[in-house]
Each structure stands twice: as structure tokens, then as C-alpha cells.
Point group: C2
Chain length 246, copies 2
């Protein structure tokens, strides 16, 4: 299942790793060590990537696809922590959590990932202060995003909260029309946003009606990005594009 | 309002700063720099400590009292992000957020704090890798706590979620009976837990009935800690004391 990419310049691992904000400002030797340790993996839809409380040997970058992070409750139900897509990282926090994963991770679409050893990340954070600083910035943006979501529960209606989820998937410099690929199972997005499936369906219908977005299977077409931005971001204290991405 | 503490050994700044997990493993010279820059402040109930988007000159450690963090929405309503008490820090993330506060902070009881310059934190994070690592651990615990809270929305009822909030204020080595001091205005705790005030009141009544805790004004008496732990933590995937504190 896993293919090792042994040479620093091997695409796509080199390109993907070089483009990550987490590794900004690292010298070429450090990037080479990461790229040399990177493995390209393909996970078919439904494959578990790791379980909660498993020893964390690897962390992952999503090249293409969708992954859900969840915690399994004692009753065996799932609490969705996040749904992630291209360019997102997961598992890297395990280096600060007794080297175990705090969530389980499952591919919810056919997914291509790059895995990197957490042991390498751990030793490099200790020896490269820049990497520690980048990781702090990344965690801080994540925290800011969670604060905004708490604010949104007060000021945004359900269609706007779905709009916000979609806008976070758009690249700021992307010209309209924008095409996004969601997971087939949209109830996972509903869970991520803390909505019941029926609330989510009604809200999505209203969002389509208000902003002209079109949804065909897992694909979302945003013909008029500015209309979606106006509808969604009007009541938020921040403007599009958000500064808490990445 | 502020009193400078100029000597490294001045209590309580020295003791409070030395006891913080954030500064674990720093050498005596580094701790001395922090203590020399520390100022003891007293904020009466209702005083704003900083506004959202203000330039962040200081971060704070609560010595005694309660502080709410909130975001003001465009409509002027408040979204409560957190309510913090003794030993908690706030404002330190501003160094990764363009040196501005992402939340407003207000003393909700008469509060004693230590303020430290964010500029000093910023320069020390860059020169002391141990401080960067401590800060990463702290943010990571915070993230883990948020993941647990998402899990709790699925598996805990409202009285259990209040029980969890109370248990997080207990020191693990504290012998029963435990006495805790809450803010007078308990609707702030309701907001923090995402509950409507009437839900919170009913849930608190049920928690008292089920666990024998007593509440007199702002004071909570926990005569049988184990009863509260059994009632609260039964459906959570972690046991008391939580490993995401600090």
C-alpha cells in the first residue's frame, strides 16, 4: 500500500512538503530529511488510518481526498472532531500527547496522503526552533478558528455556517467559478458543524436558493463567489478570506 | 492600579511564575527576566482588561479571581469563549496573531493578575526552544480539551457537563471536602458550556441532588469527591484527573 519516495526531489512529496506552512523557513537540508522520510500512501474509502489511543508512529498530509477525525465514545458512537481535505495535516499533535493519537482517522473518500514519522518531527522540533514556531502559529490559527466558530453559533444561521465551511475550502486567489469536491456522505459535514442531518439538508437548500451555488453529487459549483461571501460573512467580525486558514 | 515588582524574588510574582507549566525547565536567568518584568495588577469586578483587536502589549496570569474571554459580534452581543480562574493564562496567543488580542477580556469578580510583556515572551520563545516546546504542549492540551468537549456533547447530559467543569477546577491531589469559588453570575458558566440559563439551572439542581454537592452563593462544597467523579466521568473516555489540564 505504501510507496517510499527516496529522493529529495521526488514529486509529489517534495512539492507537497515544500508548500506546507508548517515547514516555512526551514533550510534545504531539513526539508531533504523530511522528503527522504516521506511515504506516499493510498487509502481507499472506508480505510482506518489509525485508531484513537494507538501509538502515533506517523502524521499525515492529505494530498487529495477526505479524512474524518473522530473520538469513539464508551457507548461506541462516534463524535466527529473534524473533516479534512487537501493540504490539511493530522496526527502531528501526538508528539505532545504521549505519542498517542487523541482521535481515530478514517478515509471517507479514496484518499492520497503523505506520511511522515512523528519521531522525526519530534527531534526536528527540538533542534529547529523555526519548526517549533511554525507549529505554534499553526495551532494558534486553529484556536482562532474555533473561537470564530463559537462566535458563529451566536450570529450565523445554519445556511451561513455551511457557507463558511465552503468558503474555507476556496483558495483566496481563486477566480470564480470555483469548483469544490465534498465527501459523498454530507452527514459528516453536518456532524462537523454540530447540525442534525435534517437541519443540514434544509439549510443547504436555503443556501443554494440564496447564493446560486449548485451541487451535483459531491461537487459544488460556486459561480458567483462574491454572492456567497456577502451572504455568509455579513455578520462575522472577520472578512473573507479568513486569516485563520492553514 | 498596577504595582511593579522589581526584584526577582518578590512574592507572589516569583512564586506564581515559577509554578507555571509554561515556564518549566527554563534556567534561573530566564525566570529572573520574567519575574523582573512582571507587574501585579488588581482589577475590580467589571473592569475590561483588554478589547478584541487591541494591540497586545501584555499577557496575564490569574492569581485569584475570574475573567471572561469573549468576542463581540457585529450586532454587539457577546460570544463567551471561556471563563478562567486561578493559574490560568490568557493573551499569550497574541504573539502568533499579529500581536493583537483575538478576544476581549473582562474581570467578572475582583481579580488579582500578573501581567507580563508579550514582547518579552516573543523574544524568549525565539531564543529558548524549551519555552516554545512548553507553549506547544500547553496549546496541545487545550486542543485535546476541546476535542473532549465535542465528545461530551454526544455522551454527557447537562448535569454531567457541569460536573466536568467543576472537576477541572479541583486539584487532583486535593482531599475531600473540596471548596470551589465560582463567579456570582453563573449564567457565564452556562454560556461557556453552550447552555441556555434555564437549562443550566435545572441541570445544576439535578447535579446537586445526584452528587450531594452544596452551593452557597458563589461557593461550591464537594463533600464526596468520588461521588461527583463517578456521576460525571462514567461516560467519558478519560478518567479523573484529566490529562488535558494546565
Amino acid at each position: 500500500m505504501a510507496t517510499a519516495l527516496k529522493h529529495p526531489s521526488s514529486p509529489p512529496a517534495g512539492e507537497v512538503i515544500g508548500a506546507l506552512a508548517l515547514f516555512d523557513g526551514l533550510d534545504a537540508a531539513a526539508i531533504s530529511r523530511l522528503v527522504a522520510a516521506a511515504q506516499l500512501r493510498h487509502a481507499p474509502k472506508g480505510q482506518m488510518l489509525h485508531l484513537q489511543d494507538d501509538p502515533a508512529d506517523y502524521f499525515y498530509v492529505i494530498v487529495q481526498g477526505w479524512v474524518k477525525l473522530f473520538r469513539e465514545t464508551l457507548e461506541g458512537t462516534e463524535a466527529i472532531i473534524d473533516v479534512l481535505t487537501n493540504g490539511h495535516l493530522f496526527g502531528e499533535n501526538a508528539v505532545f500527547e504521549n505519542d498517542c493519537y487523541s482521535c481515530a482517522a478514517e478515509a471517507i473518500e479514496d484518499t492520497t496522503l503523505i506520511s511522515l514519522p512523528t519521531s522525526l518531527l519530534k527531534s526536528m522540533i527540538e533542534s529547529h526552533n523555526q519548526l517549533a514556531l511554525n507549529m505554534l502559529s499553526s495551532m494558534s490559527r486553529h484556536r482562532l478558528q474555533q473561537h470564530r466558530e463559537i462566535e458563529h453559533l451566536n450570529v450565523q444561521n445554519a445556511p451561513q455556517r455551511i457557507g463558511c465551511f465552503l468558503l474555507r475550502l476556496c483558495k483566496p486567489d481563486q477566480a470564480a467559478p470555483v469548483t469544490l469536491h465534498l465527501p459523498y456522505d454530507k452527514t459528516l459535514i453536518a456532524s462537523r458543524l454540530g447540525m442534525k442531518p435534517e437541519t443540514f439538508s434544509r439549510a443547504l437548500a436555503k443556501l443554494k436558493e440564496q447564493t446560486g451555488i449548485r451541487i451535483v453529487g459531491p461537487t459544488v459549483y460556486i459561480d458567483r463567489l462574491q454572492t456567497l461571501v456577502s451572504y455568509t460573512c455579513n455578520h462575522c467580525s472577520t472578512s473573507f478570506p479568513c486569516d485563520d486558514l492553514g
